[in-house]
Symmetry: C2
Subunit: 344 residues, 2 copies
DNA sequence: CTGAAAGCGCTTACAG
DNA sequence: CTGAAAGCGCTTACAG
């Protein structure tokens, strides 16, 4: 039998109203009374029943994050860093984080529906935004607040964080080229992913600017897993004219590329250059350490959570767009001359 | 304005009771009525308000998992596989999973208290059990159901899963010895961790059985991170009489050991053997691939979730202990003669 | 500043 | 088989 607000009130011989107001810090309770209430509540181990409060306030004080079915592995390092950031920010603001993963697109839709209909969450954080994204249309149609990492092209306004790596991608291509590599290939993700579209755009822009020619079949679409990166790289290396620089849409794919290159008897950094994107922790421990464009994943997640809470709070949200620029981390996987060595 | 049970009842001109009973599948509603109720409810997009149901039923239908503060990284692969398994099992049974992580021991205690007092969860899943574990005493004292991976020595009964790797550890030591290594060291975890205690015990038992002498300072306690493994291995290799076989308490520490060995100019598998424990996915992609004792982490998590739900269901739980035996995966990190090559 | 009372949306004994 | 009613534990207009 957990303590209820009634127990606390009875103990102090005051009304439940006073207890409630005192604990929520309203100023219509005498200072002295509040003190006594807080002390007694703590001593009795009282915490408001969540369900009752939610029912009454018509708020769940919970945020949902559903790992898109598009990603095969729940445990992609990217997601764990992301979830970690969300969890930190939310719990520090007394919100809960409900996480789930869907195997299929259908299951994913059902999850959104269920969480929306049963009022389990007050809002959602989205990720892996697609150019046309049913989640965006669905949520905005139902009037459910959400924020996202990436902007869809559905013509719907919402607060978001986006990454701009145009300049840094140019730096990367320059760096790799200076290290003696010239046949650039790009191992990308699903073609409708905003991430993929942006990163490929930067790749094209940078290689063009550097006077590099990129054959059509040097641009490959994968599922962004290390297996995908492995298979794409194997195929490239087995072609008649293999590339000598492989830039990947994310670090996971790049790990697979490293593996394939080694298996092919190539020394990464000398015979071939490989680079990733995201800057997940393991990129530093890869063999050889992976050059990557580092984005502060957990920090982005924290900012997204903050944006969403502000949206919910009814206070006007000033900033509706946050732009993040990555940091180029040059490591051994793209050549010997490592100049910027400021690494953790 | 989401649809309520009242809306559905009004639409059909029946009482809310009938709607409620029909949707929950009780047999005191006419078949024909039930059909109509279900159809209408679906059409109207009705889902029971979670908070109301919880308040009435006095159940949260939610399970809590708090990542122990003892682990520095939220995103240890072990945890993500574990959480993934929990999530799958629970969501398939219509339960939610509430996950959080605590930075400090104090914050961890507070989280447990808060979730217990505010009835946010019906039970907990525990992990990284210590020999004397306040979580075990606390939860059992409050009568909160829980299950755990590992058995504490507090003399408290609870359903748990434990790992028994005595035989397999012997196989591992045999295998490494046969490959020509003889100076065994053990890189372990915090000394009060049940995991650590068991694994060290198996290590001692196996090395003794194989007639190997293990100096006192060859057994090191770390925080089980790759950094910890790296530092411990560096120290060992810089000692006057370095070991040539390093068995680690988990794969993460082993990754650090690989790194340190390479940095020391050693070829892993030839000059030195390294092995891990857990069999996380990345162990296969390490350079060289890591020999490890593979335990089915996600599967264990699924079983734990199942055990807990059974405990909550009031049906008697028959099985109160599940024993898991790991599978030895011999790979290149412990020598060239890889015999059992059945790898995914 | 404080108290008595209504109501959030369900579920379920209690009558019929 | 169905309906009217109570109550889970809160929060908050409404009186005083």
């Amino acid at each position: 039998m957990p303590t209820t607000i009634r127990d606390v009130a009875k103990k102090l011989n005051i009304s439940v109203y006073t207890v409630s107001r005192a604990l929520d810090g309203y100023d219509d309770v005498a200072e002295q009374t509040r003190e006594r209430v807080i002390q007694t509540a703590n001593k009795m181990g009282y915490a408001p029943n969540r369900a009752a409060r939610q029912l009454r306030r018509q708020k769940a004080e919970t945020i949902g994050f559903i790992i898109p079915s598009i990603s095969k592995r729940f445990n992609e390092p990217f997601f764990t860093e992301f979830v970690s950031g969300l969890g930190e920010e939310l719990s520090s603001r007394n919100f809960d984080l409900l996480v789930s993963n869907a195997k299929t697109d259908d299951a994913e839709r059902q999850l959104y529906h269920r969480w929306v209909n049963s009022r389990k969450v007050d809002g959602f954080i989205l990720n892996r935004i697609r150019r046309h994204d049913w989640r965006v249309s669905f949520l905005s149609q139902w009037g459910i607040p959400f924020v996202a990492l990436g902007k869809s092209e559905d013509g719907i306004e919402y607060p978001y964080v986006r990454i701009d790596a145009a300049d840094e991608y140019l730096d990367l291509v320059n760096h790799v080229q200076k290290n003696g590599f010239s046949q650039f290939a790009f191992i990308g993700g699903p073609t409708d992913l905003v991430n993929q579209i942006d990163r490929l755009k930067w790749f094209r822009f940078a290689t063009k600017k550097c006077g590099l020619e990129v054959p059509r079949d040097y641009i490959i679409s994968t599922d962004m897993t290390s297996r995908g990166g492995y298979e794409a790289t194997s195929a490239l290396l087995n072609s008649r004219t293999p590339p000598d620089a492989i830039l990947c849409v994310n670090d996971e794919a790049a790990f697979g590329a490293l593996h394939a290159a080694r298996e092919h008897g190539l020394t990464v950094g000398t015979d071939i250059a490989v680079a990733g994107f995201d800057g997940i922790q393991d990129s530093l421990h890869a063999e050889p350490p992976l050059t990557t464009l580092d984005i502060p994943v957990a920090d982005i997640a924290r900012q997204l959570a903050g944006m969403l809470l502000e949206t919910l709070s009814e206070r006007p949200l000033e900033l509706t767009e946050i732009v993040i620029r990555p940091k180029l981390l040059t490591r051994a996987s793209t050549g010997k001359q490592v100049n910027r060595s400021v690494d953790q």
